[in-house]
């Protein structure tokens, strides 16, 4: 075979050589072609992966960003004494018990709530468009249903408003938002439209007159979820629920995880038990998250009778889930500390504990910080185990006392994507996803920043 590839320029049999050379060139050509194709596959794979990232983020941004501005109607509201018929606000009398005053106040508030606030809103709408022929229901359908409670709360806070005229910015209903943003097809026949024809006209007219504007929807961050008033639904409840859970995770998972990592890496003798713990941790890291949810449902809820839907239980489940991540990452950063540091400390007479806590651990702070943030980010985005411990509707034969029921950001996304008002909630869900991703990105950015600082100092 070898002589086939020897190319001797001074060969007598020149025709055979050229033939051989041609064959080699031919082979080289196809081999190089294959090489190019192989490289193209690689580039194509990378392009596909990058493309997925781009499509995913593009889709969510395109769908979600419009949800951050929302139709708001500016109306001049008159607190007409003919409609708002209530007693003066009670005052706590001398010697009246707190409970009795509370009762009187509640009675008064009930009276205020029973006022026909819709009538007040309707009057304001009719003043703004006096010549429109529209019935009460149709007129009210352009304002979000819970805006009447906004008027009530304004009145409760300041009973002096009676008889006065104030400019109030009210949220438009989800259907008005859809109509004006064009998220619903404007050419659909009446029977398939969510709003009646007069209501659509009224909305268009208000929009033209500049009465309906699209300000930034702060209420996405300050309101809690709402089923009856979808346009006013917000993330505040879910955000605080997630915050509590993350606090539980940080308070429990970080000290326990770091301690476990220190023990296993620095102190543990090489024996069966240590091996067992190691295999255990590696396996726990790969156990599907939903299994932790099952553990939470069976142990925390069913056995210890902790309340359903409580962020505490969610935090405990997420702690168990993130522990292996934190342990493994901390161990690898402990392992990266050069042995010379340990030998130097031990050689100068430090005990093992002193060596670890005074010399090795401080070097690994950046690593531990990164591990913590990776773990917290993972816990922040986790949904499946939370569903099983009742972060959504879950009724079981558990004597549950729903004390601090709560959802979490990812569960809120899950609940919103299932809402029937698809046109509106697709955008709303994407907006919630943007918030969640922004939080995770923020966490990672903080981690990178702190890490750089700590590493520079070390």
């Amino acid at each position: 075979m070898a002589e086939q590839f020897t190319i001797s320029p001074a060969s007598a049999d020149s025709s055979g050589t050229t033939e051989r050379l041609a064959r080699i060139r031919q082979g080289l050509k196809s081999r190089h072609g294959r090489e190019r194709r192989f490289q193209m596959y690689g580039i194509a794979a990378i392009a596909a992966a990058l493309g997925f990232v781009a499509i995913l983020f593009g889709m969510i941004l395109v769908k979600g960003l419009p949800a951050f501005t929302q139709a708001a109607i500016s109306l001049d509201v008159t607190f007409d004494p003919a409609i708002v018929k209530v007693d003066p606000k009670p005052v706590q009398a001398q010697g009246q018990s707190a409970a009795d005053y509370q009762r009187a106040l509640l009675d008064w508030q009930r009276q205020v709530t029973l006022v026909n606030w819709n009538r007040v809103i309707e009057n304001a709408l009719r003043t703004a468009a006096p010549d429109m022929e529209i019935d009460t229901r149709q007129a009210l359908s352009i304002v979000e249903t819970n805006e009447r409670f906004k008027l009530r709360d304004m009145f409760v806070a300041n009973p002096g408003l009676l008889g006065q005229r104030v400019n109030v910015s009210m949220l438009g209903s989800a259907n008005v938002d859809n109509w004006l943003k064009g998220t619903i097809n404007r050419d659909l026949p009446d029977s398939q439209q969510q709003l009646s024809a007069p209501a659509r006209q009224l909305a268009d007219r208000f929009a033209e007159a500049g009465r309906i504007t699209f300000p930034f929807a702060w209420h996405i961050f300050t309101n809690v979820d709402s089923r009856s008033a979808p346009a006013a639904a917000g993330l505040a409840g879910a955000f605080v629920g997630s915050l509590y859970m993350m606090l539980v995770v940080i308070v429990l998972a970080v000290p326990i995880g770091v301690s476990a990592a220190i023990y296993l890496e620095e102190f543990a003798p090489q024996n069966r038990l240590t091996d067992f713990i190691e295999v255990n941790i590696n396996n726990l890291a790969a156990v599907p998250s939903i299994v932790f949810g099952l553990l939470g449902a069976a142990v925390f809820i069913n056995y210890f009778h902790l309340p359903l839907s409580a962020p505490l239980v969610g935090g405990l489940v997420l702690t168990l889930m993130t522990l292996p991540t934190i342990i493994i990452a901390t161990r690898s950063s402990l392992r990266a500390v050069p042995p010379s540091l340990r030998q130097a400390a031990l050689g100068l007479g430090a005990s093992r504990t002193q060596m670890v806590f005074h010399h090795v651990l401080p070097v690994t702070y950046p690593g531990i910080l990164t591990a913590t943030i990776i773990g917290v980010a993972q816990a922040l985005g986790e949904t499946a185990p939370l569903l099983l411990i009742g972060m959504n509707a879950f009724v079981a034969a558990v004597p549950a006392t729903p004390l601090d029921q709560s959802t979490a950001l990812p569960v809120q996304i899950y609940l919103w994507q299932g809402n029937e008002n698809r046109n509106f909630f697709e955008a709303r869900t994407s907006a919630a996803i943007i918030v969640l991703l922004a939080l995770m990105l923020g966490l990672n950015a903080i981690a990178i920043y702190l890490r750089r600082r700590l590493e520079r100092r070390a």
Binding site: F38, L56, N280, A286, V291, S351, G381, A384, F394
Partner: protein, 456 residues
């Protein structure tokens, strides 16, 4: 208020203990010469001595205080009120508590309620005072005892370090406890389920139709096979998407790319790994599903928007960074000499990769593959949203399917009784899932470790 008082007492105890331990040993140092341990270790050891009994008393109060108070309220109520049961009794107790707290109750109060409220208030104050006093006293006693032990030869550092070590061991034990908890709870609830439905019907049944919850009866069919098939089909589709893309990405990035490109591309791909699965689920439902259905229409195939194909494709995207970073590590462990040898003999880079590097890295890549399969099997939110939840045995990947994880969620989030077989089946499914992923992980980790040893 009460928590603040307790916190202050504990802080005072800590500070006092440290100060006493430290100054006693410091004083000893000047009179009796060198100590075995530094004063700070004597201080820390005294703190340990002080906190252990104090915390023990507080824990006892935490566990038994509530029932003690309740028993006291019950003893205050007249016999006919105390003889009530259920909500009526709870209301009576709560009224007494509200009166005792000073908030009062609306409307008229009975005389016995006022009296009981008054006594309960005194009881609460007294009980709290006793607990705080007992905490402080036991702490002080422990400090006094610990102070008496301080001597030049006391090995305070060693004692304190063994306390630290015990704490560290306790923390490592949490991992074992978690595994034990998972296995025990899954097994216990699954066994309860198998008392309703025979394991043979469960593991080999081909019909999944659990019916509605009625405690004590197991009407319906609990066949695992349709769910298992759905899970497998989605995992296979996911691997078909992620293996070529992930592996080729890793190959290109390790073998061809310039360091600059590598630094640019790798983090972007790893972004995919940090995205929560619910986001992928939404992506599948809103974008990929309709796109695939439209594509199917265009070529004359009936592809449903929520199908095994949709869920599998998106899950594949999710797994790409997992495969690419694992294979990246593995490819870079192949000794450079093998690569250089092949290139030196005149092979093109792609021939080197296909004939030399890949065969050498094969065991590691198989391990990565198995780990990825285990992730795909356990993934929940993508399939909950995008697989269509239809538990039938079908071969067609364009139809909706259901998986083990989806069914766990469905069975435990409905309005079902926890003790009914309809809920308990979730634990049997969870046990199956746990067993499958455990086996995959153990095998994969074994292969990867063997592979690593081969080149070390």
């Amino acid at each position: 208020m009460n928590t603040a008082v307790i916190a202050i007492v504990l802080l005072l105890l800590t500070g006092l203990a440290y100060q006493i331990g430290w100054s006693k040993s410091r004083g000893l140092e000047t009179t009796a010469g060198r100590l075995h341990s530094r004063p700070s270790y004597h201080g820390s050891l005294t703190v340990v001595w002080a906190l252990v009994p104090a915390l023990a008393i507080l824990l006892l109060w935490l566990f038994f205080g509530g029932s003690l108070e309740r028993a006291y309220v019950l003893s205050l109520l007249p016999a006919d009120v105390a003889a009530q049961t259920g909500p009526a009794l709870e209301t009576a107790i709560r009224r007494v508590r509200d009166i005792a707290s000073g908030f009062g109750v609306a409307g008229q109060t009975a005389d016995y309620e006022n009296l009981a409220g008054q006594s309960l208030r005194e009881f609460q104050v007294l009980a709290f005072a006793i607990v705080v006093a007992a905490t402080a006293a036991s702490g002080a006693l422990a400090i006094w005892l610990a102070r008496g032990r301080i001597a030049p030869r006391l090995r305070a550092r060693n004692e304190f370090e063994s306390v630290v070590r015990v704490l560290l061991i306790a923390c490592s034990a949490v991992a074992i406890l978690t595994t034990a908890g998972i296995v025990a709870s899954l097994l216990a609830e699954a066994l309860r389920f198998f008392s309703y439905v025979s394991p043979i019907d469960f593991f080999f049944g081909t019909v999944w139709n659990p019916g509605f919850a009625t405690v004590g009866s197991a009407e319906g069919d609990y066949g695992l096979l349709p769910l298992l098939w759905g899970t497998l089909m989605i995992a296979i589709i996911a691997m078909l998407v992620s293996l070529p893309i992930g592996l080729m990405t890793a190959i290109y990035l390790t073998q061809y790319a310039t360091p600059r490109m590598r630094d640019l591309v790798k983090p972007v791909i790893e972004v995919l790994a940090g995205i929560p699965t619910i986001v992928y689920g939404f992506f599948a439902l809103v974008t990929v599903g309709p796109f695939l259905a439209g594509l199917g229409d265009a070529v004359g195939l009936d592809i449903r928007a929520t199908s095994a194909l949709t869920a599998g494709t998106v899950m594949g995207v999710m797994i790409i960074p997992f495969i690419s970073s694992l294979s990246d590590d593995i490819l870079r462990q192949v000794p450079r000499a093998m690569r250089d040898g092949s290139l030196g003999l005149g092979a093109t880079p792609s021939e080197t990769i296909r004939r030399v590097i890949l065969p050498a890295a094969l065991p590691g890549i198989v391990g990565a593959f198995l780990l990825a399969v285990s992730r795909a099997i356990g993934e929940t939110m993508i399939v909950v949203l995008a697989a269509g939840n239809s538990p039938y045995l079908r071969l067609n990947p364009f139809e909706p399917v259901s998986t083990v994880t989806v069914t766990i969620v469905n069975q435990l989030t409905g309005d079902t009784d926890f003790a009914s077989p309809q809920s308990l089946v979730a634990f049997a499914l969870g046990l199956t899932l746990f067993a499958m992923t455990l086996i995959l992980n153990v095998v994969a980790l074994f292969i990867v470790r063997r592979y690593r040893e081969q080149y070390e």
